[in-house]
């Protein structure tokens, strides 16, 4: 019998708190979003100079992926890179960075900012960091859509295109930020929740 797809781990970053599988991992005292993201980076003890060059959306998604993959016990080489995918969604696309670029262009347009004026760049940053080379996509919805995510990612895994997928919601605009990511793969037995619309919704709403 084909093993079911399961949610191996999940992560949330919102309102100044980082959650790993529902447990609060880190609370920041920083009041502005840029300071908060930097405090998470430092708390995690990471050393990745490219982080400082990323836009805020990429920093948010990249940090959430770091927390998620640790929780999932992800080990590079477990699956072929071409079977590891990333599918992300949000409501504001790259509008936060688009506006920052527009502002910078009034004086001197910033090439470093311009390259982040697409929402799927965060997907690329996660793939580069973790060596994922499989299917990747970024979709824009008004709100988190568990039905779409389960259907799209589930299909990629069921038809064998992917062995595992990092997926979820990475939303950021002004000082509001919310990332909820899931790592899913096929697994016969275990305590992990099945990859269903109900479980995705429950985790999104309640952590």
């Amino acid at each position: 019998m084909t093993p079911p797809t399961r949610i191996i781990a999940h992560c949330r970053i919102s309102q100044g708190v980082v959650y790993q599988n529902g447990e609060a991992l880190f609370r920041s005292e920083e009041t502005d979003l840029a300071g908060f993201l930097l405090s998470v980076y430092r708390h995690l003890g990471l050393s990745y100079p490219k982080f400082y060059k990323m836009d805020r959306l990429s920093k948010l998604g990249w940090l959430a992926a770091e927390v998620l993959l640790v929780a999932a016990g992800f080990q590079p080489g477990t699956y072929p890179a071409e079977t590891l995918g990333v599918v992300l969604t949000n409501a504001s696309a790259s509008l936060d960075t688009d506006l920052a670029y527009l502002e910078s262009s009034k004086a001197q347009p910033s090439p470093a900012l311009f390259v982040y004026t697409l929402p799927n760049i965060v997907v690329g940053e996660i793939c580069i960091r973790n060596g994922f080379k499989g299917e990747n996509a970024f979709f824009v919805f008004e709100r988190f859509d568990a039905g779409f995510l389960q259907g799209y990612v589930g299909e990629l895994i069921e038809n064998g295109l992917l062995r595992a997928c990092l997926c979820g919601w990475v939303e950021l605009l002004d000082e509001r930020a919310e990332a909820v990511l899931f790592f899913v793969e096929k697994k016969q037995t275990g305590p992990e929740s099945r990859f269903t619309v109900e479980n995705l919704t429950k985790i999104y709403q309640h952590g």
Partner: protein
């Protein structure tokens, strides 16, 4: 020239968001690209912006880039030569 190179190191760190570096980490003759600071093509564009913003200089041709941006010293030499030339 020493003052200019010291200024350039501070400006490069700020312009390129190299927050894990201090000016002392950048040698005057260290390569800025590849095996040196590991800068990329987007950083090269930012260095061009830096020259325009801080020194009012525009590279006259793209072919000059690799020579001008080889190190902090070559940038300083370019600035010194061309600011004198345009003064």
């Amino acid at each position: 020239m020493d003052k200019l190179m010291a200024d350039l190191k501070v400006q490069i760190i700020a312009q390129l968001n190299l927050q894990e570096l201090t000016p002392a980490d950048i040698g005057n003759d260290d390569p800025l690209f590849m095996e040196g600071l590991g800068l990329d093509s987007i950083d090269a564009l930012e260095l061009i912006v830096l020259l325009q913003q801080h020194y009012g200089l525009k590279l006259s041709s793209p072919e000059e880039g690799p020579k001008v941006f080889r190190s902090v010293r070559t940038m300083a030499e370019y600035i010194t030569t061309h600011q004198v030339a345009t003064a």
